[in-house]
Symmetry: C2
Subunit: 320 residues, 2 copies
């Protein structure tokens, strides 16, 4: 089943979110508007808004309230992508030129700042101090994670724990916050919104591990960038870490630098793929997915719960 | 009288603010901690925290509450400086190497993001929805102003109105917000905190115009960077705009580019200084200062009011 089919009962609300996203980034500054719109239209799965809406279904779901949170979380995600593309010196994202490629690094930095400020402004429509505390703390952790990711580049002596802490901050915490804030905005009781947070955290971990696997196993066409880009850029992910358990492969991986020619990178990628590291990474992702599904079992039964289950399975096991 | 003498009755509270600033930027990440601490220790006048505290004196002043707002506003200011140094490619600020110079642009971008996230987290200690709305809206305007500033670089067909709108966003709005949020945190009634906002806005305008004048009239030693840097970097400020009323000087100014050698820039700066543009800029700054002092007259009399008057006069007419 396609991802979009899973939440088709939310279609009209998702259209409201898309419209609100476009409305929100209407800036007085033409340059900002173009750069923000460019980012918005590059697309994406809108996973975070969907989690916000589904979590809201466990409480007093009011789309006028929910849309502020849903749009705010997508904007925060967008802002962090715009900044990440500066760091990664990325020319393409999802097959489209990045803001830093189409304009420059400086425009990209301020466009990210602007989109982030817009998201905060939207969130102020939610009169729940707890929601603001959770979001602000998430942002602190996300930015710490971003710096750690730079620091850990090409650092081959890191272990799986370093990696897991990094992807927690990079991905899982914002998905966890999406679930929890959607629930809080719908007045869901604390015991439930804390479970939704844990669900989001586990799904987010599984999602990022899968993403990191796909960077090795997908084609350039599917990825919109060359396979193995993560490793080439010094981002040491689960497959590389598992492959490094073999001393010979470890020695090869330690040679990787940004100056290594692509042919050599390809040879190392195929070594990693043959080492069993992909299978170990899939099993790691599955363990997080299982935990997510277990937490879900503790939640009241409704349509949203079934959809969360379908989506969790989809994004944990997706092939592209 | 020295600036510090004007608010000496706040000394113990300012020490609390300095301590809280240091505490707040204690990051788990050593790199982030070092980069943030470096920015913090580069100093600055701490004008925004002082305005927060003084505005709080018009209401129920509680330093435990006030310090969150005071530190948050200084951190927002610091975060924007760190990002601005990336844009301006600045090696020095206040005579110290910038984060982008000491580390690199990428570290500076994320350090700015981190400091900004910390400020938001602090602000969540203030249970006043109005305060969050004002702050978020201010951030949107500030980021729009930052993009406009890039767009307006070396654009010699701009007028004084463009300049005033830019410095409003760049400087005045955050000082206005400092005054208003300090008051709101101290439960000051709306009619008063709106006046404090207007006071801060006018002082901020006068402050920035003075800053822009000093960039022409101070020595390299006083500025910590070469005089006329603004113009050289394409930032067209009040003195240049007034000087361009003369067609001959206008023609010279229009030749300025980042590639122009410094000797030629020096010649243009002296043309601007001889044109009467500095005097016109001082008079513009004074008009804003007068408006600030007028608004102040409408406020209840107390020690804070007297101090705000002294500080306004000082920063509007300072010589360095």
């Amino acid at each position: 089943m396609k991802l979009k089919m899973m939440y088709s009962f939310l279609n009209s609300d998702i259209n409201i979110i898309e419209k609100k996203l476009e409305e929100t980034i209407q800036a007085e500054s033409l340059l900002l508007k173009q750069a923000s719109l460019h980012t918005l239209q590059a697309g994406g799965k809108r996973i975070r808004p969907i989690f916000v809406l589904l979590a809201g279904k466990f409480g007093q779901y009011d789309i006028d309230r929910m849309k502020n949170v849903a749009v705010a979380l997508e904007l925060i995600h967008m802002a962090s992508l715009v900044h990440d593309d500066v760091i990664d010196d990325a020319e393409l994202r999802r097959g489209q030129p990045t803001v830093k490629a189409k304009w420059d690094n400086q425009i990209a930095m301020y466009t990210g700042d602007f989109i982030f400020a817009l998201s905060l402004e939207l969130m102020t429509n939610i009169d729940k101090p707890a929601a603001h505390k959770i979001l602000a703390h998430t942002m602190v952790e996300v930015t710490v994670g971003e710096i750690e990711q730079i620091k850990d580049k090409y650092r081959f002596d890191q272990n799986l724990r370093d990696y897991l802490r990094r992807i927690k901050r990079k991905t899982a915490l914002l998905i966890a916050a999406s679930c929890q804030l959607g629930a809080i905005a719908a007045d869901v009781e604390e015991s439930i919104h804390k479970k939704l947070y844990r669900f989001g955290y586990y799904v987010g971990m599984s999602y990022q591990i899968t993403d990191d696997i796909l960077d090795f196993t997908s084609t350039e066409e599917e990825l919109g960038k060359p396979a193995g880009s993560d490793l080439h850029q010094g981002n040491i992910t689960a497959p590389a870490l598992f492959a490094m358990e073999n001393a010979g492969i470890r020695c090869e991986i330690e040679k990787v630098s940004e100056y290594m020619e692509y042919g050599k990178i390809e040879r190392i990628i195929s070594l990693i793929k043959q080492s069993g590291a992909i299978e170990k990474s899939i099993s790691l992702s599955d363990r997080y997915l299982d935990k997510a599904l277990q937490v879900l079992e503790e939640l009241p039964s409704n349509k949203a719960k079934k959809t969360l289950r379908d989506i969790a399975k989809f994004i944990g096991r997706r092939k592209f």
